[in-house]
C-alpha cells in the first residue's frame, strides 16, 4: 500500500520533535518537563486550582496547544493515537499542582481512562488531590442512556475553554469540577469522515473508505462510526447530522448556543462554511440563537478529511467562562 507523504524526520521521533517545535511556537509561555512528553505553563499562580489535560498525540493542536492563561495549565502527551502512560501524567500532575488540587480533563477512551486513573492513584499516594472529568460529547458513540460510554471528540475544546476559565477564577477543586460537569451536560458533537488520515510510523490510512463514501460519527482516531453512506451534498448531510444532535439535547425557543466546527484535518473552510449556512437555517427555524461560532482545526486526526459540529448550550454562568479572554497556541479570545 502506498505510504502517505509527510514532512517529518524519524517517524519514531515525531512526538518529541512536535513538542519541541510547539514549545518554541509558544514563544516563552510554556516549557517541557525534562525528558517527559508533557508541557506546562511557566506562570501558573500559586494557590490556583490546576487543570491538566492530555491524550494521544497526532491530534494537534489538541492537547498541548491549549495551555495558557484561562486555558489549561499542563498537558500529558502519549504516542500517536495512544493515551499517555501514568508516569508522564504523574510528572505533569506534580508540575502543575499549586496546593489546591488538580482537575484531569480528557477524552473518554479506555486507554486514557486507565492510564489517567493509575496516575490519579499514584498522585493520591503523594498527597495530591485529583478529580477527573471525562469528555464524552460524541453522540454517535453510544445511546443517551449510556453517555459515559461516549467518546470525547471536538467538544474537548469548549470543555477546556470553560474549565480553564473556571480554574482561573474559582478557588476550590469542587467548584471547578462542578462547572466542567455542567458544561459537559450541555455539550453535543457529531462528526463525519470523508477520507482517512494515516499514522506517521506506518504511513497507512487508519481505515478504508470508498471514493464515493462518507461515514457519519466516525471517531477522531478513525474508529468506525455509526453510518456509512454515499457522498451526500452539504445540505442533506447537515440536516442528517443536526437531526441527531438536536434529538439528543433539550433546546427551547430562545435558547443560546455556541457552535464549533472542527476540521479533522483536510476539510476546507469552504465546506464547513457551506455547512454552517445550513446549520444556521435549521437553528433559526427553531428560534435558537448563536452566541459565537468557532471554526478551524482544533482536534485533528492527522490529514483525515472530515469535520464535526459541536453545540454547547449556554446559560449565564457558562457564558461568563466561555467569553472570558483567554489565549493559547491554538485559540485566542
Amino acid at each position: 500500500m502506498f505510504k502517505m507523504k509527510k514532512i517529518i524526520n524519524d517517524p519514531a521521533g515525531v512526538v518529541e520533535e512536535t513538542l519541541a517545535g510547539l514549545v518554541l511556537a509558544y514563544d516563552g509561555d510554556v516549557t517541557q518537563l525534562p525528558g517527559v512528553n508533557a508541557l506546562v505553563r511557566k506562570d501558573i499562580p500559586d494557590g490556583k486550582v490546576a487543570l491538566l489535560i492530555g491524550g494521544g498525540s497526532g491530534h494537534e493542536p489538541i492537547f498541548p496547544g491549549f495551555l495558557g492563561r484561562n486555558f489549561a495549565d499542563g498537558a500529558a502527551c502519549g504516542g500517536v493515537f495512544a493515551a499517555p502512560p501514568p508516569d508522564v501524567i504523574l510528572e505533569a500532575t506534580k508540575a502543575v499542582h499549586r496546593g489546591r488540587g488538580v482537575l484531569y480533563l480528557y477524552g473518554n477512551y479506555a486507554g486514557d481512562n486507565m492510564n489517567f486513573d493509575i496516575a490519579a492513584e499514584m498522585a493520591a499516594e503523594e498527597g495530591i488531590e485529583v478529580r477527573t472529568v471525562r469528555v464524552w460529547d460524541d453522540v454517535a458513540s453510544a445511546p443517551p442512556d449510556q453517555v459515559e460510554e461516549r467518546r470525547g471528540i471536538a467538544g474537548d475544546v469548549y470543555m477546556i475553554k470553560i474549565a480553564g476559565a473556571a480554574a482561573a477564577t474559582l478557588d476550590s477543586l469542587d467548584a471547578v469540577e462542578a462547572v466542567a460537569v455542567k458544561a459537559r451536560a450541555n455539550l453535543r458533537s457529531l462528526g463525519v469522515a470523508v477520507r482517512a488520515g494515516s499514522i506517521p510510523e506506518t504511513g497507512k490510512p487508519t481505515f478504508e473508505l470508498g471514493d464515493d463514501e462518507i461515514e457519519i460519527g466516525m471517531g477522531a482516531h478513525g474508529e468506525a462510526g455509526v453510518r456509512r453512506q454515499k457522498l451526500t451534498p452539504a445540505d442533506p448531510l447537515t440536516d442528517q447530522m443536526m437531526e441527531v444532535i438536536l434529538g439528543d439535547i433539550e433546546l427551547a425557543s430562545g435558547d443560546e448556543v455556541a457552535l464549533l466546527f472542527n476540521n479533522l484535518g483536510a476539510t476546507t473552510f469552504m465546506e464547513m462554511l457551506i455547512v454552517n449556512r445550513r446549520v444556521r437555517q435549521i437553528l433559526a427555524e427553531r428560534d435558537i440563537a448563536v452566541h459565537k461560532t468557532d471554526m478551524g482545526a482544533f482536534v485533528t486526526s492527522q490529514e483525515m478529511a472530515g469535520f464535526s459540529i459541536s453545540l454547547l448550550k449556554l446559560d449565564e454562568e457558562l457564558k461568563r467562562y466561555f467569553d472570558m479572554p483567554a489565549s493559547c497556541f491554538a485559540m485566542t479570545r
Binding site: G56, G78, G79, V80, F81, A82, A83, P84, P85, P86, D87, V88, Y109, A110, G111, N113, M114, N115, D117, I118, A140, S141, A142, E149, R151, I199, E201, T202, K204, T206, F207, G217, G219, H221, G222, E223, A224, G225, V226
Partner: protein, 205 residues
Amino acid sequence: MNAGETKTAFLAIADAVVAAEPRLTDADRAIGDGDHGIGMKRGFQAVTEKLAAKDPERPADVLKDCGMAILSKTGGAAGAVFGTFFRAGGAALGEAETIDAAGFKRLLTAGRDAVMKRGGAAEGDKTMLDALAEAIRAAEPEESLPAALDRAAAGAARGAEATRAMVARFGKAKTLGERALGHPDPGALTMALVLEAWRDSQASA
C-alpha cells in the same frame, strides 16, 4: 523455571512481540485505530532494555520489571492493560525462587483479576481477557510447567480466535458493533503471542 530462565524467556517474548508489530497493527487498523503493534513494540523494547540491565533475584522481579516497563513506556489501553497484567502476575509469585505450573496458573489468574478491576471489562467483551481466560482454564496446576505453558498457549490462541465472533464492548473497537465480527481482537492476539513465545522459549531451551 528460576529467575535467570524467566529473564531469558521474557527476552524471547519481547523479541516475538516486537517482531509481530505489523500484524498486530494491521489487526488494530481493522477494528481500532491502527496503533496496537506500535505501542506494544514501544513497550516491549523498553522491557528488553530493563531486563538486560540487571540480573533478577526472583522470577517475580522479571514480571514486575516487565510490567513497569510496559506501563511507563507504552500508553494507550494496551499499556495499562498489559502493564497491569504483568505487575499483578509478578506480585502473585511473591518470594518464590521458581515458577512451577501452579505458580504459573496463579500469576495468570492474578493478572486477569487485576486487569478486570482496572478496566471493567469481562470475558466475552472482545479483549485480551478472552485469550487470557481460555489460557487459565487450559493450564493445569498439577502438571509440569512446560506442559502447562503448552496448554495455556494453545488455550490463549483459541481464545483469541474466538474473539472473531464477538462484538467489542471496550476499547476503540466498541462503536464498531456488528462490523467487528470476523476480526480478532488485537490485544487478544498479543496475549496469545506472549504465551506462545514463552512456551517456545522453553521448547528451545
